[in-house]
């Protein structure tokens, strides 16, 4: 008897859930099935001021615009200034030596192919409101913070 009542209730609940459109925080209120209207492209910061890294191994962010920089098999616009040979002239930050190493730690004469596509790790920044919250704490701040009480056993 109880099962006979519970089953239709369960089906009803499932139907209600199904009718609530699936939404996603990054997409806003637009249901997943519909196309969003993307916000206008932001203007990347272009003040050439090197930003602090948030953690020691963070790839530095790009402090300038890179609109229409060609980065493909034919040409790497970034290396036009940031390569080892060009950096002294352009006074750009030279590519780190780590980028000349293959994954086994052997040094190569040229940028390692796995590091060729700069924008995989290095990105421009836009002065935009973050889409989602972030509770990240810098490790330095963490070290300075009073020690948390050890959990009781």
């Amino acid at each position: 008897m109880r099962a006979a009542v519970a089953l239709p209730l369960l089906l009803l609940a499932a139907a209600v859930v199904a009718q609530v459109p699936l939404t996603d925080a990054m997409r806003g209120k637009t249901p997943v099935a519909d196309e969003t209207r993307p916000p206008p492209l932001g203007n990347a910061e272009n003040n050439d001021e090197r930003r602090e890294r948030v953690y020691s191994m963070q790839p530095p962010t790009i402090p300038h615009k890179i609109d229409n920089y060609q980065l493909d098999l034919n040409a790497n616009a970034c290396l036009g200034c940031h390569s080892r040979g060009r950096a002294p002239v352009t006074r750009a930050v030279a590519v780190s030596v780590s980028h000349y190493m293959d994954r086994d730690g052997n040094f190569l004469a040229e940028i390692s192919p796995r590091r060729y596509f700069c924008e995989q790790c290095h990105v421009t920044q836009v002065d935009a409101k973050p889409l989602v919250g972030n509770r990240f704490v810098d490790v330095d701040a963490l070290l300075k913070a009073p020690p948390a009480k050890a959990p009781k056993r």
């Binding site: 300038h64 609109d67 060609q70 034919n74 040409a75 790497n76 290396l79 390569s83 060009r86």
Partner: protein, 198 residues
């Protein structure tokens, strides 16, 4: 050979002798009007070859370089001022323009014999074609850039710090010309393996 010389002599004599039927005024005015018509037709014809519609009339241009131009700042930008093909590829001064147009007759040859009539052929020739343009702009001190972008009128306080520094050090001193650094701003670059010092 001898008869040919005779013929030439006869024509020369005809040209040299004064008119028998037409008045001086008719010949002068007629010559003037004919000159105006000829000149007008010639220049109009040449200006027709200086339009975007003409340049993109061939698939070689329309489907390769023109497509690439469309995503650059010289085609679309916030203020809507834009450059068309001849703004950068044809000198504006008349004599230089005629010289360039005469050179361009080779491009007609290329069109007839299909030098770059497929995407693959175009890609194979891309480095060579680009180098021609780089050499041309290097030789005329980037004249076509400077037709719009005057170094004297640049407000470097409105430029990004690195642009201001580079322009001060290289452009204003005349050490480099626009095309030395600004390659591949309107079209995609060819394989720069050896062309860009890395």
């Amino acid at each position: 050979m001898r008869s040919l010389l005779e013929l030439a002599k006869r024509y020369w004599a005809t040209i040299r002798s004064p008119s028998r039927y037409y008045s001086l005024a008719f010949l002068v005015l007629g010559g003037f009007i004919a000159g105006v018509v000829f000149w007008g037709a010639f220049n109009t014809g040449m200006e027709l070859t200086n339009t975007e519609a003409f340049c993109t009339g061939c698939h070689e241009m329309r489907e390769n370089v023109f497509v690439e131009l469309k995503r650059t700042i010289h085609y679309t930008n916030r203020s809507g001022v834009r450059a068309i093909c001849p703004d950068c590829h044809v000198p504006h001064a008349w004599t230089d323009k005629i010289a360039r147009k005469m050179q361009a007759s080779k491009e007609v040859w290329g069109k007839i014999f299909g030098t770059i009539d497929t995407r693959e052929k175009f890609l194979d020739h891309r480095l060579e074609l680009a180098q021609h343009e780089w050499a041309r702009m290097k030789a005329n001190n980037s004249l076509e850039c400077r037709n719009c972008h005057g170094a004297d009128y640049m407000d470097i306080t409105r430029q990004s710090p690195r642009a201001a520094a580079m322009h001060s050090q290289f452009l204003f001193t005349g050490e480099k010309t626009c095309i030395d650094c600004h390659k591949g701003i309107a079209h995609r670059l060819p394989d720069m393996g050896a062309a860009l010092p890395h």
